[in-house]
Amino acid sequence: MTDLLYSEVEEDLRASVRGLLADRSDPATVLARVETDQPYDLDLWRTLATDLGVAGLHVPEELGGQGASTRETAVVLEELGRAVAPVPFLGSAVLATSALLGCDTAAAEVAALASGERRGALAVPLSAAPSAPFPDTVRVDAEGRLSGRVGTVADAAVAELLVVPAAGPDGPELRAVDMPSDGVTVSGIVGLDLTRGIADVTFDGAASRRLAGPDVAGTALTNALITAAGLLASEQLGVAQWCLDTTVAYVKERHQFGRPVGSFQALKHRLADLWLDLVGARAAARYAADALATSSVDVPVAVAVAASHCSSVAVKAAEECIQLHGGIGMTWEHPAHLFLKRAKSTESALGTPGRHRAALATLVDLPAPVA
């Protein structure tokens, strides 16, 4: 039977990540950072990756990782979501690392990312769904030179290694580019999400090395996107959890009409429903993380369920958080908007809920009507 609970080790891991984030990255600190010219907290990233060793949790020990699994990575993502921590975890430790794990000749790169020695990014639009065809906007020529453009790449601005899906002369390939590099321009985008950077990446004859050829590149990319979509559900769970906790605390405190607004049944019922949504989200996110950890045959279903459900729960939780805070929830000063922006952006990340449901239609044999 799949284990949907948290092990003691996982709870310890959570406690150390939570402790670090409480110390170094509380919402006020994050808010103060987002408008500076260094929106990422790279010191925090170094502590997470090097001291706590969380960048290589689902990387085998022989490849320089912790030899744990996606279950542990998922716990870290929950905490990072709960703090909307501005670190390149999704881009580096999830997307790029997972793609590299599917390549035959990427041991050095995997080790560098897993140890936190380097930061990576996977050059696909953050909106790319696992079911999308292999991208062809970047081409690689016979000399290994890349040209083309990819928009909205997560965490590209701070990446020291880009993993680039490219159309080669013989078919799809995954290529590595060390950053900074001649012939690569990374332009940061003003994003809806203030706490995870996205950037447009343009290649103009940039040198690259081959990580995977046509025989494995497609599978490596799809698996990376499936893994990331499944793990993102845990981040969304963390976002939703902060929103629920913060809102419950607020409606207990805030008085109107001579009583706490949380004593009105209209709000109690809403929060009870939201709590129930989170019960489901936690089970679905755990199931996906566990299925990925055990390479279960049910991975595609587990991921589609978690991704479609948790996306929507995070958005709903963040929207309720703003609403139940009243006017203060509409202010920049209150951190709720950071969570709303993260939730709404991740709803479009790695496949919208609708795309994941469409994928399910095939997976569980509930085909669309014949036109």
Partner: protein, 401 residues
């Protein structure tokens, strides 16, 4: 109310003739904008349902559309309602109903032409949904009132010449009975306006600090102690102003998404299609419900039913703008600009999809939250019993805070 003696009902033909006369005497191409707007007001073509002499002709409200269409076709300037929404939607109907003839003459014309912007000084840090708990004090001093307190979330206070102000004049009686309603001179000494930044990045609203602001008694609207009653008129009108405007089909948020859908076939999926169509139907149904409500109310003042329009408007705006971000996919991850600004206009349909999504969140908070509106519908339309109240019959000063 100073309605003129009953005149013969003005009809559409009559209005068209009056518009022609206005245009003949004040060619919009050669007339200064403000001069034209003043002339339009004086011709009774500003808001035709207002009394003669106050910008109207005592005509049915529905005929306003005839005037607007004729003037738009002639290329006449409008009064840029997005700049003066609070004046038009909330202050004006309250002044009309409770103001003295002198107040009518002084305030309504520059309000309508946009020469004077208005803001609403109602909400306070401790009094939002529970507006009647307002703590800003107004103390009588001869012919003046001395006002001290703090208001919050005050939209357009930074551009406003006047504010409609709810203040406590008697702390010794239960909260609903100790309030009075004033027009606050925003240029008076002691009025300080500080920007409050919103989740959209800009500061559309403000905090307003009132420190011993002296207002002459001639700026009071309604009787002393009747502020709550006067405020009800403002609030009922606010809710209609936010959700109940006459719009053509696809005139609101749904029009923006419909256009994207038509222009961008590559974004379409069957699932989004179903959701869009469902929202399109809801938007059209609400548009018709608003139309029907306006026909019912042709003469009277908006009642609690108006709250339903704002409730639906907020829900739809949020659902549709949320769908738009999702529909745009990769593009939906982008935002146009977070720079802190103090905008002059408020446009729910403005800027980009991210802005519309974020701004729409305010629609279910401003002008009474959706929860409060549901309570109003439940209690005042459906007649359901109110919750037991602990705060109604206690003197304001003894309420727990």
């Amino acid at each position: 109310m100073s309605t003129a003696t009953t005149t013969t009902q003005v009809d559409a033909e009559d209005l068209r003739r009056r518009v022609r006369d206005l245009l003949a005497e004040h060619d919009p191409k050669t007339t200064d904008r403000l001069e034209f707007l003043r002339a339009r007001f004086d011709a009774g073509l500003a808001w035709v349902h207002y009394p003669v002499g106050l910008g109207g002709l005592d005509a049915p409200r529905a005929l306003q559309a005839v005037v607007d269409a004729e003037l738009e076709a002639a290329g006449a300037p409008d009064n840029d309602p997005r700049r003066i929404g609070i004046g038009l939607g909330m202050a004006a109907p309250t002044i009309l109903r409770f103001g003295t003839p002198e107040q009518h003459q002084r305030f309504l014309r520059p309000l309508w032409t946009g020469e004077e912007v208005w803001c609403q000084l109602f909400s306070e840090p401790g009094a939002g949904s529970d507006l009647a708990a307002a703590a800003t004090r107004a103390v009588r001093d001869g012919d003046e009132w001395v006002v001290t307190g703090q208001k919050v979330w005050t939209s357009t206070a930074h551009t406003a010449r006047w504010g409609i102000l709810l203040a406590r004049t008697d702390p010794d009686v239960p909260k609903h009975r100790g309030l009075s309603y004033f027009v606050c001179d925003m240029t008076a000494p002691g009025v300080e306006v500080r920007p409050l930044r919103q989740i959209t990045g800009e500061a559309e609203f403000n905090e307003v600090f009132l420190s011993e602001v002296r207002l002459p008694d001639t700026l009071r609207l309604g009787e002393v102690g009747e502020g709550w009653k006067v405020a009800q008129t403002t609030l009922m009108n606010e809710r209609v102003a936010i959700g109940g405007n006459a719009i053509p089909r696809e005139g609101g948020m749904v029009g923006v998404v419909a256009q994207t859908w038509r222009e961008r076939p590559e974004l379409r999926t069957p699932e989004l299609h179903q959701r869009l169509l469902r929202l399109w139907v809801e938007a059209e149904v609400m548009r018709l419900a608003g139309e029907r409500l306006r026909q019912q109310l042709a003469a009277g003042h908006p009642g609690p039913e108006g709250s339903a329009m704002k409730l639906a408007f907020a829900r739809l705006n949020q659902a549709i703008s949320g769908l738009e971000v999702e529909l745009l996919g990769e593009e939906g991850l982008r935002y146009d600009d977070w720079t802190m600004r103090r905008p002059e206009i408020v446009d729910f349909l403005g800027r980009n999809a991210g802005y519309r999504y974020l701004r729409a969140k305010g629609n279910s908070i401003e002008g009474g939250t959706s929860e409060i509106l549901r309570n109003i519908i439940a209690e005042r339309v459906l007649g359901l019993p109110a919750e037991p109240r602990v705060d109604k019959d206690v003197p304001w000063k003894d309420l727990p805070r």
